[in-house]
Symmetry: C2
Subunit: 138 residues, 2 copies
Protein backbone atom coordinates (compact mmCIF):
# COMPACT_ATOMS: atom_id res chain seq x y z
CA UNK A 1 0.00 0.00 0.00
CA UNK A 2 1.33 3.39 -1.02
CA UNK A 3 2.09 5.53 2.05
CA UNK A 4 1.57 8.79 0.20
CA UNK A 5 -1.91 7.84 -0.93
CA UNK A 6 -2.73 6.46 2.47
CA UNK A 7 -1.76 9.66 4.22
CA UNK A 8 -3.69 11.75 1.74
CA UNK A 9 -6.86 9.72 2.04
CA UNK A 10 -6.80 9.37 5.81
CA UNK A 11 -6.35 13.12 6.06
CA UNK A 12 -9.67 13.35 4.21
CA UNK A 13 -11.27 10.79 6.45
CA UNK A 14 -11.57 8.02 3.88
CA UNK A 15 -9.88 4.71 3.30
CA UNK A 16 -7.14 4.15 0.79
CA UNK A 17 -7.78 1.43 -1.76
CA UNK A 18 -6.11 0.38 -4.97
CA UNK A 19 -8.99 1.80 -7.02
CA UNK A 20 -9.04 5.13 -5.22
CA UNK A 21 -5.29 5.48 -5.53
CA UNK A 22 -5.64 4.82 -9.23
CA UNK A 23 -8.40 7.35 -9.76
CA UNK A 24 -6.49 9.96 -7.79
CA UNK A 25 -3.37 9.35 -9.86
CA UNK A 26 -5.29 9.56 -13.10
CA UNK A 27 -6.99 12.79 -12.07
CA UNK A 28 -3.60 14.14 -11.13
CA UNK A 29 -2.11 13.22 -14.47
CA UNK A 30 -4.77 14.77 -16.66
CA UNK A 31 -4.31 18.42 -17.34
CA UNK A 32 -7.98 18.96 -18.14
CA UNK A 33 -11.27 17.61 -16.77
CA UNK A 34 -12.09 14.02 -17.70
CA UNK A 35 -15.24 11.92 -17.79
CA UNK A 36 -15.87 8.87 -15.64
CA UNK A 37 -15.42 6.74 -18.73
CA UNK A 38 -12.07 8.35 -19.56
CA UNK A 39 -10.87 7.44 -16.10
CA UNK A 40 -12.33 3.98 -16.40
CA UNK A 41 -10.59 3.23 -19.70
CA UNK A 42 -7.23 4.34 -18.39
CA UNK A 43 -7.74 2.56 -15.09
CA UNK A 44 -8.74 -0.68 -16.80
CA UNK A 45 -5.35 -0.82 -18.51
CA UNK A 46 -3.59 -0.95 -15.17
CA UNK A 47 -6.21 -2.78 -13.18
CA UNK A 48 -8.35 -4.84 -15.59
CA UNK A 49 -10.93 -5.91 -13.02
CA UNK A 50 -11.87 -2.36 -12.11
CA UNK A 51 -15.52 -1.53 -12.66
CA UNK A 52 -17.18 1.57 -14.05
CA UNK A 53 -19.55 1.86 -11.12
CA UNK A 54 -16.59 1.93 -8.76
CA UNK A 55 -15.19 4.82 -10.76
CA UNK A 56 -18.48 6.66 -10.44
CA UNK A 57 -18.66 5.94 -6.73
CA UNK A 58 -15.09 7.03 -6.23
CA UNK A 59 -15.54 10.25 -8.18
CA UNK A 60 -18.69 11.05 -6.27
CA UNK A 61 -16.87 10.37 -3.03
CA UNK A 62 -13.99 12.61 -4.05
CA UNK A 63 -16.45 15.39 -4.86
CA UNK A 64 -18.24 15.03 -1.54
CA UNK A 65 -14.87 15.34 0.21
CA UNK A 66 -13.90 18.29 -1.97
CA UNK A 67 -11.00 16.36 -3.40
CA UNK A 68 -12.48 16.67 -6.88
CA UNK A 69 -14.96 18.87 -8.68
CA UNK A 70 -17.67 17.78 -11.08
CA UNK A 71 -19.04 19.82 -13.93
CA UNK A 72 -21.17 19.37 -17.01
CA UNK A 73 -20.57 21.03 -20.32
CA UNK A 74 -23.48 22.22 -22.39
CA UNK A 75 -22.04 20.45 -25.42
CA UNK A 76 -22.19 16.98 -23.96
CA UNK A 77 -24.34 14.96 -21.65
CA UNK A 78 -21.36 13.53 -19.84
CA UNK A 79 -20.12 14.96 -16.58
CA UNK A 80 -16.42 15.70 -16.23
CA UNK A 81 -14.24 15.66 -13.15
CA UNK A 82 -11.00 17.29 -12.10
CA UNK A 83 -9.01 17.67 -8.93
CA UNK A 84 -10.19 20.52 -6.76
CA UNK A 85 -7.49 23.16 -6.93
CA UNK A 86 -9.55 25.37 -4.63
CA UNK A 87 -9.02 28.15 -7.10
CA UNK A 88 -11.50 29.93 -9.25
CA UNK A 89 -11.28 28.30 -12.64
CA UNK A 90 -13.00 28.29 -15.99
CA UNK A 91 -12.35 26.70 -19.33
CA UNK A 92 -12.52 27.41 -22.98
CA UNK A 93 -13.91 24.39 -24.78
CA UNK A 94 -12.94 23.64 -28.35
CA UNK A 95 -15.96 22.73 -30.44
CA UNK A 96 -13.94 20.37 -32.59
CA UNK A 97 -11.41 18.52 -30.46
CA UNK A 98 -13.23 19.11 -27.14
CA UNK A 99 -9.94 20.21 -25.64
CA UNK A 100 -10.47 22.28 -22.52
CA UNK A 101 -8.08 25.15 -22.05
CA UNK A 102 -8.14 26.83 -18.65
CA UNK A 103 -8.53 30.59 -18.47
CA UNK A 104 -5.45 32.16 -16.98
CA UNK A 105 -7.37 34.90 -15.29
CA UNK A 106 -11.04 35.61 -15.08
CA UNK A 107 -12.76 38.94 -14.62
CA UNK A 108 -15.84 37.25 -13.25
CA UNK A 109 -15.94 39.21 -10.04
CA UNK A 110 -17.10 42.12 -12.18
CA UNK A 111 -20.10 40.11 -13.22
CA UNK A 112 -21.04 38.93 -9.78
CA UNK A 113 -20.76 42.46 -8.53
CA UNK A 114 -22.90 43.87 -11.32
CA UNK A 115 -25.47 41.16 -10.84
CA UNK A 116 -25.76 41.43 -7.10
CA UNK A 117 -26.26 45.18 -7.42
CA UNK A 118 -29.15 44.61 -9.78
CA UNK A 119 -31.06 41.82 -8.09
CA UNK A 120 -31.99 40.19 -4.82
CA UNK A 121 -30.41 36.93 -5.85
CA UNK A 122 -27.99 35.48 -3.32
CA UNK A 123 -25.04 34.47 -5.45
CA UNK A 124 -23.12 31.41 -4.32
CA UNK A 125 -21.27 30.42 -7.41
CA UNK A 126 -21.11 30.88 -11.13
CA UNK A 127 -20.05 28.86 -14.14
CA UNK A 128 -18.46 30.32 -17.18
CA UNK A 129 -17.83 28.35 -20.32
CA UNK A 130 -16.16 29.82 -23.35
CA UNK A 131 -16.86 28.02 -26.58
CA UNK A 132 -14.90 28.23 -29.80
CA UNK A 133 -11.92 26.79 -31.61
CA UNK A 134 -8.53 26.18 -30.10
CA UNK A 135 -5.40 27.31 -31.93
CA UNK A 136 -4.90 23.87 -33.53
CA UNK A 137 -8.47 23.50 -34.78
CA UNK A 138 -9.39 26.92 -36.00
Amino acid sequence: MDKTHQAFFTSHGIKSTIQRNLVLDLLQESESPVSAEDIYLKAALLQPTVNLSTIYRTLELFCSKNIAVKSTLSESKKAVYELNTHTHKHYMVCLKCKRMVPLTNCPCSLIEKAVSENSDFEILDHKLEIVGYCPECK
Copy 2:
Protein backbone atom coordinates in the same frame (compact mmCIF):
# COMPACT_ATOMS: atom_id res chain seq x y z
CA MET B 1 -55.11 25.35 -39.21
CA ASP B 2 -53.87 28.51 -37.62
CA LYS B 3 -52.72 31.02 -40.23
CA THR B 4 -50.30 32.74 -37.89
CA HIS B 5 -48.47 29.52 -37.09
CA GLN B 6 -48.53 28.48 -40.70
CA ALA B 7 -46.94 31.73 -41.86
CA PHE B 8 -44.35 31.53 -39.14
CA PHE B 9 -43.35 27.99 -39.92
CA THR B 10 -43.30 28.34 -43.69
CA SER B 11 -41.09 31.38 -43.27
CA HIS B 12 -38.66 29.01 -41.57
CA GLY B 13 -39.05 26.42 -44.29
CA ILE B 14 -40.89 23.82 -42.23
CA LYS B 15 -44.42 22.51 -42.13
CA SER B 16 -47.00 23.60 -39.63
CA THR B 17 -48.59 20.80 -37.63
CA ILE B 18 -50.79 20.68 -34.57
CA GLN B 19 -47.90 19.45 -32.46
CA ARG B 20 -45.46 22.08 -33.65
CA ASN B 21 -47.99 24.82 -33.10
CA LEU B 22 -48.49 23.56 -29.60
CA VAL B 23 -44.80 23.43 -28.78
CA LEU B 24 -44.28 26.90 -30.19
CA ASP B 25 -47.15 28.26 -28.10
CA LEU B 26 -45.87 26.60 -24.96
CA LEU B 27 -42.36 27.93 -25.51
CA GLN B 28 -43.86 31.34 -26.04
CA GLU B 29 -45.85 31.19 -22.84
CA SER B 30 -43.05 30.15 -20.56
CA GLU B 31 -40.95 32.98 -19.23
CA SER B 32 -37.98 30.75 -18.51
CA PRO B 33 -36.36 27.75 -20.23
CA VAL B 34 -38.27 24.47 -19.98
CA SER B 35 -37.37 20.83 -20.38
CA ALA B 36 -38.79 18.54 -23.05
CA GLU B 37 -40.82 16.85 -20.35
CA ASP B 38 -42.25 20.15 -19.10
CA ILE B 39 -43.46 20.85 -22.62
CA TYR B 40 -44.75 17.32 -22.97
CA LEU B 41 -46.79 17.46 -19.77
CA LYS B 42 -48.39 20.74 -20.71
CA ALA B 43 -48.96 19.61 -24.28
CA ALA B 44 -50.57 16.37 -23.20
CA LEU B 45 -53.28 18.30 -21.38
CA LEU B 46 -54.37 19.92 -24.60
CA GLN B 47 -53.54 17.11 -27.00
CA PRO B 48 -53.55 13.83 -25.08
CA THR B 49 -52.18 11.68 -27.90
CA VAL B 50 -49.03 13.74 -28.24
CA ASN B 51 -45.82 11.78 -27.73
CA LEU B 52 -42.62 12.66 -25.89
CA SER B 53 -40.47 11.72 -28.86
CA THR B 54 -42.38 14.14 -31.03
CA ILE B 55 -41.62 16.85 -28.51
CA TYR B 56 -37.94 15.98 -28.66
CA ARG B 57 -37.99 15.92 -32.45
CA THR B 58 -39.84 19.21 -32.59
CA LEU B 59 -37.49 20.91 -30.15
CA GLU B 60 -34.47 19.63 -32.02
CA LEU B 61 -36.01 20.88 -35.26
CA PHE B 62 -36.67 24.29 -33.75
CA CYS B 63 -33.07 24.48 -32.59
CA SER B 64 -31.73 23.53 -36.00
CA LYS B 65 -33.84 26.31 -37.51
CA ASN B 66 -32.75 28.75 -34.82
CA ILE B 67 -36.30 29.09 -33.60
CA ALA B 68 -35.29 27.79 -30.21
CA VAL B 69 -32.13 27.42 -28.17
CA LYS B 70 -31.08 24.43 -26.12
CA SER B 71 -28.94 24.51 -23.02
CA THR B 72 -27.92 22.26 -20.17
CA LEU B 73 -27.46 23.36 -16.62
CA SER B 74 -24.68 21.91 -14.53
CA GLU B 75 -27.16 21.14 -11.77
CA SER B 76 -29.27 18.78 -13.79
CA LYS B 77 -28.87 16.25 -16.54
CA LYS B 78 -31.94 17.49 -18.40
CA ALA B 79 -31.65 19.87 -21.31
CA VAL B 80 -33.82 22.98 -21.34
CA TYR B 81 -35.19 24.91 -24.28
CA GLU B 82 -36.39 28.43 -24.87
CA LEU B 83 -37.33 30.55 -27.84
CA ASN B 84 -34.37 32.14 -29.54
CA THR B 85 -34.64 35.82 -28.78
CA HIS B 86 -31.45 36.43 -30.75
CA THR B 87 -30.22 38.42 -27.82
CA HIS B 88 -27.39 37.73 -25.48
CA LYS B 89 -28.91 36.14 -22.42
CA HIS B 90 -27.90 34.41 -19.22
CA TYR B 91 -29.68 33.15 -16.17
CA MET B 92 -29.35 32.93 -12.47
CA VAL B 93 -30.46 29.51 -11.30
CA CYS B 94 -31.94 29.02 -7.86
CA LEU B 95 -30.45 25.97 -6.15
CA LYS B 96 -33.66 25.27 -4.30
CA CYS B 97 -36.64 25.98 -6.55
CA LYS B 98 -34.67 25.75 -9.83
CA ARG B 99 -36.25 29.01 -10.92
CA MET B 100 -34.27 30.68 -13.69
CA VAL B 101 -34.08 34.43 -13.49
CA PRO B 102 -32.66 36.16 -16.57
CA LEU B 103 -29.85 38.65 -16.11
CA THR B 104 -31.01 42.08 -17.12
CA ASN B 105 -27.63 43.08 -18.41
CA CYS B 106 -24.43 41.19 -18.72
CA PRO B 107 -20.91 42.52 -18.71
CA CYS B 108 -19.66 39.46 -20.55
CA SER B 109 -18.07 41.36 -23.37
CA LEU B 110 -15.41 42.29 -20.85
CA ILE B 111 -14.62 38.66 -20.39
CA GLU B 112 -14.48 37.78 -24.04
CA LYS B 113 -12.24 40.73 -24.63
CA ALA B 114 -9.91 39.84 -21.79
CA VAL B 115 -9.79 36.23 -22.89
CA SER B 116 -9.14 36.90 -26.54
CA GLU B 117 -6.29 39.20 -25.64
CA ASN B 118 -4.66 36.45 -23.60
CA SER B 119 -5.02 33.44 -25.87
CA ASP B 120 -5.21 32.19 -29.43
CA PHE B 121 -8.62 30.71 -28.86
CA GLU B 122 -11.23 31.74 -31.42
CA ILE B 123 -14.22 32.60 -29.29
CA LEU B 124 -17.60 31.86 -30.80
CA ASP B 125 -19.84 31.88 -27.80
CA HIS B 126 -19.88 31.65 -24.05
CA LYS B 127 -22.22 30.41 -21.37
CA LEU B 128 -22.61 32.01 -18.03
CA GLU B 129 -24.59 30.50 -15.23
CA ILE B 130 -25.06 32.18 -11.90
CA VAL B 131 -25.99 29.86 -9.08
CA GLY B 132 -27.51 30.77 -5.77
CA TYR B 133 -30.80 31.42 -4.04
CA CYS B 134 -33.61 33.51 -5.41
CA PRO B 135 -35.30 36.13 -3.19
CA GLU B 136 -38.09 33.69 -2.21
CA CYS B 137 -35.79 30.83 -1.28
CA LYS B 138 -32.92 32.46 0.50
